[in-house]
């Protein structure tokens, strides 16, 4: 370890379950690796692990985060290299233990060790605000809050932002997931401005509701790889903003795909 790195640890959290934390983690991790960064994605959802499945790496797991923390194996043995990108690694959660298997101090030590080896340590937080959440934020330098345009998800996001501030994690950034532009237009869905107005944090990106996500999740291939998918483009933009590039917000109304279908409709009258 001649040239020790000092990477950045980013926790992806939301409070509410099912808003897309794991999907966001997999896509940001993969997206950063595509941009040439060395990345480790850490699943801190002990007992309900998913990140390995979403990344398509489940069948490679031999050791997990609890084995690493309890020193049953070396850190290197616990890391699983991604099958597509050499610079991307996964540290899976244990499935047969529960959240109390790891303490915040151990998590802090682990994340600090990982920061010496990687440019980015992306931590997938479990739902809730109990010990699993406390573990996931223990070593983080920065937080990304994922929410959906629903009042319940926004309420939970607000609570989590407060908890993060209390722990000294300032200026979290927001990802609004699963936006349906036609519903927003009709006034049936909260729009981006409403959400920002309540949460009052910087917007990192917006991701449209997209069938491609379901397909890619089931295939174990993050959608960020998909050139054509709108959601893939959204995640590519988000990763570029994370490394400091200025990228305009995705215009969900006039995307290329939309234009193309419109032309098709005109031509074929469907």
């Amino acid at each position: 370890m001649e040239n020790e790195k000092i990477g950045t640890a980013v926790v992806i959290t939301s409070g509410k379950g099912g808003v897309g934390k794991t999907t966001t983690t997999a896509n940001i991790g993969t997206g950063l690796a595509i941009l040439g960064k060395s990345v480790v994605v850490v699943d801190s959802d002990i007992g309900l692990r998913n990140l390995d499945v979403v990344m398509g790496l489940e069948n490679r797991i031999v050791y997990d985060i609890v084995d690493v923390v309890e020193k049953n194996c070396r850190l290197k043995q616990g890391l699983i290299r991604d099958k597509r990108y050499d610079k991307l690694y996964l540290l899976p959660a244990a499935q047969t233990k529960d959240k109390s298997a790891v303490k915040p101090e151990q998590m802090l030590e682990l994340v600090n060790n990982l920061k010496k080896e990687f440019d980015y340590v992306i931590i997938d937080s479990p739902a809730g605000i109990e010990q699993g959440f406390q573990n996931s934020i223990a070593g983080a330098d920065m937080a990304i809050i994922v929410t959906t345009p629903e009042i319940s998800a926004v309420r939970d996001a607000d609570r989590v932002i407060g908890l993060l501030e209390a722990k000294g994690l300032q200026d979290p950034r927001l990802v609004i997931n699963r936006i349906r532009p036609e519903m927003v237009k009709r006034g049936d869905m909260m729009n981006i401005d409403d959400i920002i107005d309540i949460l009052a944090i910087d917007l990192l990106g917006i991701v449209p509701d997209d069938e491609a996500i379901v397909i890619s999740t089931n295939k174990g291939e993050p959608v960020v790889i998909e050139e054509k998918a709108m959601s893939g483009k959204a995640f590519r933009n988000i990763t570029r903003r994370i490394i400091g590039e200025e990228v305009e917000l995705l215009d969900l109304d006039s995307n290329d795909e939309g234009k193309f279908t419109k032309i098709l409709k005109l031509l074929f009258g469907k």
């Binding site: 069948n59 490679r60 031999v62 499935q95």
Partner: protein, 223 residues
Amino acid sequence: MKDDVITFKGVKEGIFIDIKSGNLHLVKEELDEKLKDSIVFFQGAKLLGVRGRNLSHMEINEIKSIIKDKYNLSISEEGLPEYLNEEDILDDLKESFNNPLADNDIFQGIEEGMTKFINGTLRSGQVVEYSGNIVIVGDVNPGALIKAKGNIVVLGTLRGVAHAGIDGNLEAIVAAYNLQPTQLRIADKIARPPDENIISYKLPEVAKVHGGEVMIEPYLPKK
């Protein structure tokens, strides 16, 4: 790590040199370093001899002559006390327990032996571990883990992880009515399905170790 190469041990008869390493070159180097620093101490002590489990008699004699000639230390005539040899055997036994692949104490009951039956489906996060064979009358879902010292038989679909022969029996098998595991392990061998989609045969299959690798074949090939 270097400390493990040579240690000076005291017993009531005197002191002796305990050598763990089998690398003569390394041992000589280490011996020089240790004796140089504390030669005065050893001049006054009664040196009983040299114990080196991983060294030949010739090599031990070579080390003894270095001690005598180069450092002018005398080695007592009575040699190492008897009980030190017994200690050797005990240490060896301990080592074989720590090494799961030593032949003498791995589970042998795969032809006929203790068996645990599980009625029902094993779900994600559930672990079954047994020092014998395991039979599951049900399915094993992804995220579940079965660990047996002997064979594993699933009378349903195996989708989770199965580890047969956990203490080193390479003859152990994993058989399932429908074998679609996340991962299969037999003794110290680990296998996983290929990343490309594979055609499943819809036949009961069995996994065993052939030539150092886990192989899967139908066990009712005529059906």
